[in-house]
Structures are given as C-alpha cells and as structure tokens.
Symmetry: C2
Subunit: 260 residues, 2 copies
C-alpha cells in the first residue's frame, strides 16, 4: 500500500491528513476538498451521497490504495454506499471516534457535537450503542462552530458565548464529548473552559490511529523517501487555501483545481 | 409580462420574492434556490459564475419574462455575463441598493456589509461611486451573519457581540449602511442597537421597487387573479423549507427538487 486518498467537503479534513502524514510520512496522499459545494453538514442525505460518490470516483480513478472519508457528514450518510462501490478499503471517521469514546468514557454518559446532518443521521449514537448498549448519548447540532473556526475567532468572547449556548446544558451531565466534525479540534481549549474535566475525543486523531493499524508503521531504520501530498479542490479561492494552511500549520502550497 | 424568475444561492432571496409578491400580486413567480451548493459567498468568482449560469439557464427555459438575481454574490460576480446571455431583462440587487444609498446618504460616508465574495468584488463601492464619486465607502465582510440568521439567533446576546465585532468600528463614522446580503434584513433591529441613527438600506426592498417601476403596477380595479409561486431547490431538506418559511412569514408549501 502506497497511496492514500482523503476526501472532505472542504478543508476541515486537513486535520485528518495532518495526523496521517505524521504517523505515515512515506505514504503519498491525495487530498480532495469539495470546496465549491461545501458545506455538506446543512444538506440532505441524497445531496451529500451524490457529491460523495463523485468525489470518491475521482480519487479511485487516480489509483489510490485506501480511501479515507475525512468528513463526518459524508461518513454518516455515505459510508456504506461508498464502501460497497470500490474494491479498496474505505475508512470513515465515525467508527474510530465511537470506539475511542467507548474506551474512554467511565460513566457511559456521552455527548456528541456535529453538523445538523451528522446529528440528524444518528450514526454516532448507534455506533456507540453498538459497543455500549447502555450508553446515554446526547447529540447536539452546532451549526455556528464551522463558520466560527473559519472566521478564526477561536479563543474570543464570541466563541465562549456560542459554546455556552450549545454546551452549557451538558455541565456535570457527561464525562466524554465527541468532536464529531473535523473543524472542532481547533476549539478544544474553548470547549475545555465551558466543560472542564470532560474528555474530548478527536475523531481525526482516532482515524489516523486506525489507519496506522491497518497499514502498519514502517520498522525503525526502514524509513524510505518522504511521500508527496497533492491537493485537489473544486473551488480554489485564496480563502480556502488560507484556512487549509491554518489547519495544516504550514502552507499547503499549490492546489489543483478540478470540476466535478 | 407575466412570469418573473428569481434566483438565489439558497433561501435568502425569499426576502426579495416577498417584496415583489406584495407589490405585484398577479404575477407568476418561479423561485430557484441552489441549496445543494449554498453558500456562494465564500467561493470564487469562477465557481459562482458557473453555478449562476446553470441556474439562469434552468429558469430561462421555463419561459420567464424577467430574471431577478436575488443574491448579492451572484450579482456581484455574474450580472454582466448573465445579462449578456438572455434576451429578457435581468435585474440584480446591487444597482437598486446602491442607487437608494446614494439618495439617502447625506454625508457620503457609507458602509456596506456582505459576504466575503461580495466585498471582494468591490461592486457596491464602484456602483455607489459611479453615482457619487466622492463617496467614502467602507466594505466589511461579515461571514458569521448568515449562519447566525439561519440558527435563528437574531435578538440574542450572541448576535449583539458578533455585530459589535464587525460594526462597532463604524460608530460615528457613517450615516448609511447597505445590507448587502439577503439574510441581513432579519438583523435590522440588532444592527440598530449597535449603530443607532444609521440608515439601513435593504437591497431586497429596493430591487422590488425597481421591478415595479419596470413592469408597472396594475391600475386600481384591474387586478386580475392572484399569481402562483413555484419553488425549485437543488436540495430539499426540511431545514431549508423551515428557513424559507421563516423568511416568507408563512409556509412555502411544496418545493420541487431539481438537479443542476
């Protein structure tokens, strides 16, 4: 296995890419952000699935060996159909996040935050309860959080007030919170101020761990050449390049524009 | 003239539809919201133009007599190309808004708020300065306001804090503020609390006035049958139907799903 395809509705999946690249530096990665049609999280199952399959087809035709759906909404609505369509392994972000949550929660009182569509799908709840049938799972749609992160307002009084509105009700009620959207890890510190002592599960990191388990880490001393990263986006405005770079922690460099 | 086509990236253009329907109740209206690909306001000129022409073609083929681009971003990036493409009148929201602004501002010190793309285009500034060359026009991108309105958080402390961040700098600096996005009229009262005494220009209302001028209002006593309104959307999730109804002030009824 040499090439990993990662797709997201936009640039949030860069957090997954970053975690995978750190763990598996010799792999080539193709990242596709469907920035022309972002977000998926406010839209219907039908639309999300149609777009996800177009994106999946593009990456599959590039000859990838593994496909990562680095978007919670696309995973929630499309994982089964996407998995059935290709003859390569397909990994979504929900299963790894749910498994880590079950391992980490002591009380079984769990909350999941995500886009409207992810919450509507109920996929986190059902996956968590598959492993822990008695789990008490609350799901809260937080549609303001993606724009908040993209506005770069993490750490501000606006972030605090918005998180209070969404999460204040959970104080003392849960011991684990699933960050069910790839943008949310940027708000970890703000969330910790509203919900001190609550364990936050980052699905991006958990997904990277699952992939490392699947591919195997190269033995020490056998590390080959560093892999390449190629970025495709359906809209290549400067704004997306900037947000992508802030997620990556360095410039993403050149982005190839494609139409789907 | 009998049938008016209105398009928007999503449901915000319903504010324009409402104003037109009130002024011209006997006209048939076709409304198309490109909800599968909403928003346009964060995307590039190239993407916005491509989508706008697909939407325009769909409505044109339905046999409309007049096309209204009820989306500030689509107007900013596409008005000239769209106008050149069809042999019917095409009205955008920027020209009517800019003309009203010039008529209303006493000091010539004006601010425009809009999406990132609308502000980036500079179309409001250049149109206002076409009529009033000495106008001092500040343009401020406010990407958090559309999600705020769609979350139905108008009138809350979050709305106040966000508007303070965007508009607090304008206090005492301008006498007129252009609401350069169809969602913003829902925030009129919140804005008035941050910028008391500043005249707010609602491009939706001004556009409806322009269209009435163009079509002529039926003479009293000659009013015929009430016209019909047909809604097409590229994503028909319940969420969009609900937001559309809240903009309209009544249920939008059935929405026809189309793929573009």
């Amino acid at each position: 296995m040499k090439t990993i395809g990662i797709f997201d509705s936009g640039v949030g999946g860069i957090t997954v890419l970053k975690a995978i690249r750190r763990a598996l530096p010799t792999f080539d990665i193709l990242y596709l952000g469907d920035t022309a049609r972002v977000p998926y999280g406010t839209k219907s199952r039908e639309t999300v699935l149609r777009y996800s399959l177009q994106v999946g087809d593009f990456l599959y035709r590039k000859g990838i060996d593994l496909l990562v759906i680095a978007c919670n909404t696309a995973t929630a609505y499309g994982l089964h159909e996407i998995r059935a369509r290709y003859d390569i392994p397909v990994i979504g972000v929900i299963e790894p996040g749910a498994q880590a949550t079950v391992a980490l929660s002591r009380s079984g009182r769990i909350a999941v935050i995500g886009t409207s569509a992810t919450v509507q799908s109920g996929q986190y709840r059902s996956t968590i309860q598959h492993y822990l049938p008695d789990a008490d799972v609350r799901e809260i749609a937080c549609p303001m959080l993606v724009p908040l992160v993209e506005e770069n307002w993490c750490g501000t009084d606006v972030a605090h007030l918005i998180l209070q509105r969404y999460l204040g009700q959970l104080r003392g009620q849960v011991d684990t919170l699933v960050l069910g959207c790839t943008h949310y890890p940027m708000l970890k510190e703000d969330i910790a101020r509203v919900l001190p002592g609550v364990t936050q599960v980052d699905s991006a990191e958990e997904t990277a761990r699952t992939i490392v388990g699947l591919t195997g880490v190269p033995a020490p001393g056998t590390l080959g050449t560093l892999g390449t990263t190629t970025y495709y986006m359906t809209d290549t405005s400067q704004r997306f390049a900037e947000i992508a770079s802030s997620f990556l922690g360095e410039s993403v460099g050149s982005i190839e524009h494609i139409d789907l």
